[in-house]
């Protein structure tokens, strides 16, 4: 056999080694800022950090899976509610994002006067820091002083107890989060749509395809990789998106809008005047992480649609 110069691992390494150099910084950063703290959190979730006897904050002990055992046997209904709420929150938001984003992108994709102005204005909420606008939204939903009830009153509708009843609280959360995110989704889909060759549509319209069937037969297939990737990333992000719920309802009323991440945060920082329960908080975030991993693996394996993105 002649020497097979290009088939060996050594050859590939000799040719591709710069990649490792380029990835070294990001690897160090991620190991230091992600991998290590994650491992640390997993460890803490198996200690009595914050839950043990008084003064144990820095003298905690390894307790194995006791924390997990406790919540699963004693608080399984809480866990189930958190799972349900987290999925409802992320799923509902993503469905709305995709619906609003795709719809507006389709409208904006036609030749229309003032398109650029519309696009700029629609994207504007994205440029405002979410943290600030959430504080403002929280005020806007206020029962007594909020502008939203003010507007409703002005057109003759009684005030709604937005953040005080479960159904209305969810509605307020969804509307607020759609406001925060729809600009991004609209522009992503619009940008992708504009890259679809125009002659495809011309050919389809000569074939007698109407607007709806053009959307189904051309637009949707072209957008599919983007929809799947953006949808998946958006779902995972929303699953852990802490600020809207924390700042608007803080999980309330009761536990009705509580999700893993807000529960975890409240425990960790001892919300409602309680003592910080850091090991419990760590456990919730580990459970959250596990759910997300399973979900991601299922999506990536189940649908080869993301292949384009992660290939």
């Amino acid at each position: 056999m002649a020497d097979l110069r290009d088939q060996t691992l050594a050859f590939r390494l000799r040719r591709e080694w710069p990649a490792y150099v380029y990835l070294l910084p990001v690897t160090i950063v991620l190991l230091f800022l992600n991998a290590y703290p994650i491992a640390y959190t997993i460890y803490i979730s198996m200690t009595d950090f914050g839950t043990g006897p008084k003064g144990s904050l820095l003298h905690y002990h390894y307790v194995g899976l006791a924390n997990y055992d406790y919540v699963i046997s004693h608080q399984s209904s809480t866990i189930l509610q958190l799972v349900g709420n987290s999925f409802f929150w992320a799923g509902g938001c993503i469905a709305l994002f995709l619906l609003v984003g795709l719809g507006l992108a389709c409208v904006l994709n036609q030749p229309l006067r003032g398109k650029t102005i519309y696009r700029t204005l629609i994207l504007l909420p994205w440029a405002f820091p979410a943290f600030i606008t959430l504080l403002v939204w929280a005020g806007m939903w206020d029962y007594e002083y909020g502008i939203i009830n003010g507007v409703l009153n002005a057109i003759g509708i009684h005030s709604v107890d937005w953040l005080l009843s479960p159904d209305n609280a969810w509605a307020a959360l969804f509307i607020t989060n759609v406001w925060l995110s729809f600009p991004f989704y609209t522009v992503v889909f619009l940008a992708t749509m504009q890259a679809i060759p125009k002659d495809l549509y011309e050919a389809a319209s000569i074939d007698g395809a109407g607007a709806l069937s053009q959307f189904r037969r051309i637009t949707l297939p072209y957008l599919r990789p983007t929809i799947v990737f953006v949808g998946l990333m958006g779902f995972l992000f929303t699953f852990n998106n802490f600020y809207p719920i924390y700042l608007l309802t803080n999980g309330g009323p009761g536990l009705s809008t509580q999700i893993f991440i807000t529960q975890s945060y409240s425990d960790a920082f001892g919300a409602h005047g309680a003592a910080p329960l850091y090991s419990t908080a760590a456990m919730y975030s580990v459970l959250d992480f596990l759910i997300i991993i399973v979900l991601t693996v299922v999506v990536i394996w189940g649908a080869d649609l993301t292949r384009n993105w992660l290939r």
Partner: protein, 388 residues
């Protein structure tokens, strides 16, 4: 200004072999065209020479330097890509100057130390190349603002200014309009004559290959089938694939048999029977004739095959005829079924024939070729001049 030599070069990708044991010596200053259908491995060869791919086995020499382990940038070659691959963010001037600005040359006072070219040196080279190619007026334009032909010239200029060991051209004309393409061909040939540098040019277009190449290297499925001058490739193709791939209109092939006839042998393909000269063995063979070696006459000579004109393609200076051979009339009374029609294409003087005309066909005996069942050329066999 150096030759390029490939020695038993093989490139295997995961499952298929793209280049199969190719050896090819390209002489300094030569214009070699690598010709093949898509997927024949011709671009892979070019990329291996450039160093953009590394061969699985075999060696590449530039001049007498073994360059197997050289990075592309150390090979000092210039390449023109099919897409031209101009840098979209730079204008034509900066595209051409790009390679010059990164390059370093020995210093006059200190031959061992290197220096960058001065701005003035770069400018002089860019302008002279641009002028030679007639793009001096559009140096400030970005690639997106240039036409296909202009882009192609910018790509050529970018290759020229580098003063490379050899030029590698990967189908540089295939993205041009048909009209510009033929003038671009002539210009390219003129450029080569002027630069007297080694050009290695890849194409799937045989007429492009014929007009440009000092020599053609014909590839199929990664194998080098033949490397020779255009004339020799046309008149002495190594095998049936080369014979059919090169030459337009395509060679006429008649698949028949060699049968013993009296003292000698005859080529038989009903209704055609033509005696053979030279060493022959009975068995299946293919007879190949270039359409322009098919002689068509109005009056029958005793050796001619009677036929009927079924189609005429008028090209102005000449006509392409589609003929159906009738063969010698079968002996009367024999209940033989009518032989299947046999189509032959011929090139004739313009307006000599019309559809439906009777015509008498002879094949130029010195130019007709025989191939065996595997497609290999049977060089010892040729047609006899006379019919018995």
């Amino acid at each position: 200004m150096t030759g390029v030599t490939l020695q038993n070069v093989t490139k295997r990708f995961k499952t298929e072999t793209a280049v199969d044991d190719v050896s090819l010596a390209i002489v300094d200053g030569e214009f070699v065209v690598i010709l093949g259908a898509s997927g024949s491995g011709k671009s892979t060869i070019l990329r291996i020479i450039a160093g953009l791919e590394v061969q699985t086995s075999g060696h590449v020499y530039i001049g007498d330097m073994l360059v197997d382990d050289y990075e592309p940038r150390d090979r000092n070659l210039a390449m023109v890509f099919q897409s031209y691959a101009l840098y979209p963010h730079l204008n034509a001037y900066d595209n051409i100057a790009f390679g010059l600005r990164v390059r370093r040359v020995p210093r006059a006072d200190h031959p061992r130390k290197l220096r960058h070219l001065t701005k003035r040196e770069v400018d002089a080279k860019v302008r002279s190349a641009a002028q030679m190619l007639g793009i001096g007026e559009m140096l400030r334009k970005r690639p997106a603002e240039l036409s296909g032909g202009q882009r192609q010239r910018v790509a050529l200029a970018r290759a020229m200014v580098r003063d490379p060991e050899a030029f590698l051209l990967d189908e540089p004309l295939s993205n041009l309009d048909a009209k510009i393409r033929s003038s671009a061909r002539i210009e390219l040939k003129r450029l080569h004559a002027r630069l007297r540098q080694t050009f290695i040019f890849v194409t799937h277009d045989q007429s492009e290959a014929m007009t440009l190449g000092d020599r053609l290297a014909i590839l199929n499925h990664g194998r080098l089938l033949q490397c020779d001058t255009p004339e020799r490739v046309l008149s002495h193709p190594a095998n049936q694939y080369v014979a059919s791939f090169v030459g337009s209109p395509e060679m006429v092939f008649l698949e028949g048999n060699v049968q013993p006839a009296g003292a000698g042998y005859t080529f038989v393909k009903d209704p055609v029977r033509i005696p053979i000269r030279g060493a022959a063995r009975p068995g299946p063979v293919t007879l190949g004739v270039r359409p322009w070696d098919v002689r068509v006459e109005k009056e029958g000579s005793p050796t001619a095959l009677p036929s009927r004109v079924t189609g005429v393609e008028r090209l102005g200076s000449s006509d392409h005829l589609f003929l159906e051979l009738a063969g010698p009339a079968p002996a009367s009374g024999a209940a033989a079924p009518a032989p299947p029609a046999l189509s032959v294409r011929a090139v004739t003087r313009a307006y000599d024939f019309n559809v439906g005309d009777r015509a008498f066909v002879t094949f130029d005996p010195d130019r007709a070729l025989f191939f065996d069942a595997e497609g290999a050329r049977l060089e010892s066999m040729s047609l006899a001049t006379r019919l018995p």
